[in-house]
Symmetry: C2
Subunit: 355 residues, 2 copies
């Protein structure tokens, strides 16, 4: 006992492997090598702002496991959700001094999101925004929250794409719309002066747009900012399991999220790089800033893309916010973390976009 | 019910807050806002190399909760541990073509770690290495593994500091030794050409050395690479709780790790920035590359330092490896992730150090 004890301690923290030990018991049986993490309590961290503590303290999004049964059920959820978001926007626009103008670009609905002052070095720059919401939520004006923030905090003109969504318009309608707007923007703005950004689904689309621009031999944007991208729609990646029931926004892939993936894919392979861009070829990508949180169900979706970009020789920056679940970094414009996130992304675009 | 249901879904993935819901039940009672994460299984990810899968599949370090009761018990563990590590080194030195020469610098024991070939642009550069091991493990040659790797993969001359440790020499002996070597190196090498790196305790010491260099008005190194730094010794930070019993190396703060912290601190305040550098003033820090893993108990220790450096305007790079627990990124020199880690750190030093 003494010898085994000492030999095992021998390797504690020393960076080498130690002898195989019997796996601890669990019900159901634990697959070989899998970790059985016992029931445990994770307190609200005191290492984030009070505003972020309040967000982290919220209970699970109570509808993470709702699976709508018909197009009508999807639409009812989507419409009510959009109305709730839209109600919050006037105050945010007002505080940040941003105006939002609906328009149509190349036949696609969009919003021109404009800050009160565009500094001279941003006058010939445009950001294209693709919103989040599992490819089904946030139609219309509900799409614009993140665009308002970056316009306001960063002093950029932003075009937010109100792309078509299922149940009426599954893949590839959303991507077709986003690409149509990108092509239209290229007619008036040099590609190097164009940035693309979005969170969650919008992060996945941002990456997929660059993959598609490569396929279509379009000039690539000057820089991109995919936030916690839905880069893998197949529940592949460690944090899908490790952060399950810890992330209070997505909570788990097994519920609304997976149902939305199937609704959007409409029979297409979920591993197609235009749906799950982590499987795409990222050589030649523009400079990229990625953001996630330590509790994010998509932490692996984010770091896997970061590693893949770095392996492809791309200038890729990663930031991971303490204690945050999915996409909480832009939740509250009064939280210092939200200002910090927007300042980082704005600074990254300023550094890398042409003028 | 229908209305509450719809209103709640309304905000799913939409980035806004939803109404407070009753907290789910747990035993013991869950503090307000705390997350009660149920018992769950985290499989070995198939998103990492086979070599890394084998490391991730290992059971808990069986001695994470061993608390030695006397100096004799500490020393017995340390000596046996060191012998086990040293036994692995000849093969690593051989494979990487690195020689290790014991020496004494300013009265401090150290090792000169030299690759077969030092490329011309690295001839006037030196890296100072401070090893990991909870301030108590890895005396002598056992300290050199990480130094051998970066010398071999990166083509750098490395000086690995064999600093004094408790139980005989608690804080500040380790820091005094590391600073004595740094001062000595500055006599022959320009500070801008000097890098400092280390993992875990070595990551914490790397940060603390810059804090102390600032206090002592020494010129600062050209760049630093603190890997998964023990930047907070007080079990403060979300991943101390979120990744508890998930990380198979450190497993939990409540055991060997906390005992080692108290042994080293020897009555000093654990929140002193020279012990827990996350509490230090990081303005003026040199370019910094930080590394962690998604399962790392020190993920928060890493990202908190990253955010703090960025807030202070420092060029700070973060990389987080998929599925990895504490310090597994340099575990196996045959794993692609280990080569990638060393290539990233070597490239960062090459980019930022003077020539």
């Amino acid at each position: 006992m003494k010898i085994a004890h000492v030999a095992a301690v021998a390797l504690l923290l020393a960076g080498t492997s130690y002898a195989q030990q019997p796996q601890q018991e669990a019900t159901p049986p634990v697959p070989p090598g899998a970790r059985h993490v016992p029931d445990h309590i994770v307190p609200v961290p005191d290492t984030v702002s009070p505003q972020m503590q309040a967000i982290i303290a919220q209970p699970y999004n109570p509808n993470w496991n709702v699976v709508p049964k018909s197009p009508g059920e999807w639409k009812a959820i989507v419409d009510k959700a959009a109305a709730a978001v839209v109600a919050t926007l006037p105050e945010i626009r007002e505080k940040l001094g941003v105006t939002v103008q609906p328009t149509t670009i190349a036949g696609v609905k969009a919003f021109i999101v404009t800050p009160k002052v565009i500094p001279p070095h941003n006058r010939d720059r445009v950001l294209v925004h693709v919103h989040g919401g599992a490819y089904v939520l946030s139609p219309g004006e509900a799409a614009t929250k993140e665009a308002i923030e970056l316009a306001g905090f960063g002093g950029f003109k932003v075009i937010s794409v109100d792309y078509r969504m299922p149940p009426d318009f599954p893949y590839p309608a959303a991507m077709d719309d986003a690409m149509a707007v990108y092509r239209a923007v290229l007619k008036t703005t040099k590609a190097k002066n164009v940035g693309i950004f979005g969170t969650s689904t919008g992060g996945g689309m941002t990456l997929a747009m660059v993959l598609r621009a490569k396929m279509e031999h379009l000039p690539l944007p000057g820089a991109i900012a995919p936030g916690t991208p839905w880069s893998d729609m197949t529940k592949t990646g460690d944090s899908f399991y490790a952060n399950e029931m810890l992330d209070n926004v997505l909570v788990s892939d097994d519920g609304f999220l997976h149902a939305a993936a199937l609704l959007y894919a409409n029979g297409h392979d979920l591993k197609d790089p235009l749906l799950s861009p982590v499987y795409g070829d990222m050589h030649g990508f523009p400079p990229t800033i990625l953001t996630s949180g330590t509790r994010d169900l998509f932490l692996s979706n984010t770091v896997r893309v970061h590693r893949k970009l770095r392996e492809a020789g791309v200038e890729a920056v990663l930031q991971v916010f303490e204690g945050e679940s999915h996409a909480q970094y832009y939740r509250d414009i009064n939280a210092p973390e939200t200002k910090e996130y927007n300042a980082e992304v704005a600074g990254f675009f300023d550094k890398h976009l042409g003028r």
